[in-house]
């Protein structure tokens, strides 16, 4: 939990806005003076008054998470003015799709092994089974259908959003990196 400003130390928001940091300042609990960049980004992208309105519409216990997610989005937008954190969403969706395909293929292999369809290269004696038949693995229902077709508001851009740049969680194993997008002039 971010510390509230002391009476002689304005919060990062009031410092940037050059105003007196009053007791009860809505920003003070979430924008400590030690983290000035956090409010700089949020103010640049959303604006202080929009953030105030947003926070006022939330319950107090929700505000810290809201500020942190706004700060995340703002930082992503500052780094990538074209796609913001939508670029990360596109990348993660591609990863999910790739993993889904791999999982489908692995499950198909498992079923084939269970039914003794994959040859092992050695003769089998008549009348004996070398492998105990296994029931196909029961997957959680979420993997029995394509991830992304649920009604959970998944991002479906009108045209596919290319990947702007590497994120820290980029595993580089996907061949989906797009080298043509994300050129943002600042």
């Amino acid at each position: 939990m971010a510390s509230s400003s002391s009476y002689n130390s304005p919060c990062a928001a009031c410092k940037l806005l050059r105003r007196k940091c009053m007791p009860g300042c809505i920003f003070a609990p979430y924008f400590p003076p030690e983290e000035p960049q956090k409010f700089v980004n949020v103010h640049k992208i959303f604006g202080a008054s929009n953030v105030t309105k947003l926070l006022n519409e939330l319950l107090p216990h929700q505000r810290e998470d809201a500020v942190n997610s706004l700060a995340y989005e703002a930082e992503a937008r500052v780094r990538d003015p074209v796609y913001g954190c939508v670029g990360a969403i596109s990348f993660l969706q591609r990863q999910v799709q790739r993993l889904q395909k791999e999982l489908d293929a692995a499950n198909a292999d498992l079923i084939r092994y269970a039914c003794n369809e994959i040859p092992t290269g050695l003769p089998t004696a008549a009348g004996s089974s070398s492998v105990q038949p296994l029931t196909p693995r029961n997957r959680p229902s979420e993997f029995n259908r394509r991830i992304g077709n649920e009604g959970g508001g998944f991002y479906q851009p009108p045209g596919a959003f290319p990947l702007p740049y590497s994120f820290p969680w980029n595993d580089n194993s996907s061949g989906d990196m797009n080298d043509g997008g994300g050129e943002g002039g600042m």
Partner: protein
């Protein structure tokens, strides 16, 4: 010309100039799009953002801003960060599932091969025994012929 105003200028109740930064991306037939973006970002922030970008990237930027604004309206606490968390969770689950399935395949492969090898060895032993017995029988009949002489 009032009928030619883009959705942004209609919303802001102002004249829509010929070089309006919003008009290519906020057509008048979709007023909700600008309303959402305005609620979350504000018109001047969006204008500054778009102006800083080369023209050919502005449409994508407007689309992504619209998406983020919609998500933030639907989920005022987490916005589209909630979607990122969900996707990361899906990925973790899928990776774990994949690892388990691949481990099962490896076990079944080695079981199958071990079982096949054992059968092969058993057959091989049986064949050797058969050959030995045949040899014995042959030796017996040869020595009988020899010892009994010519019938």
């Amino acid at each position: 010309m009032n009928s030619g105003r883009c959705a942004a200028c209609r919303y802001l109740r102002r004249r829509c100039p010929p070089d309006c930064i919003f008009s290519p991306y906020f057509p008048p037939n979709n007023p909700q799009r600008f309303a959402s973006i305005h609620k979350i970002y504000g018109a001047s922030n969006v204008a500054k953002l778009l102006l800083r970008l080369p023209t050919h990237l502005r449409a994508e930027a407007a689309d992504s801003l619209n998406f983020e604004a919609q998500r933030r309206i639907e989920d005022p606490v987490y916005g589209c960060v909630g979607l990122i968390f969900l996707l990361q969770q899906h990925i973790q689950n899928a990776e774990s599932q994949l690892a388990k399935t691949q481990a099962e395949i490896a076990v079944m492969k080695s079981q199958a091969q071990h079982s096949q090898t054992s059968q092969f060895e058993a057959e091989s032993d049986f064949n050797n025994l058969l050959h030995q017995q045949l040899d014995t029988v042959e030796n017996l009949s040869f020595s009988n012929q020899t010892s009994s002489g010519f019938m």
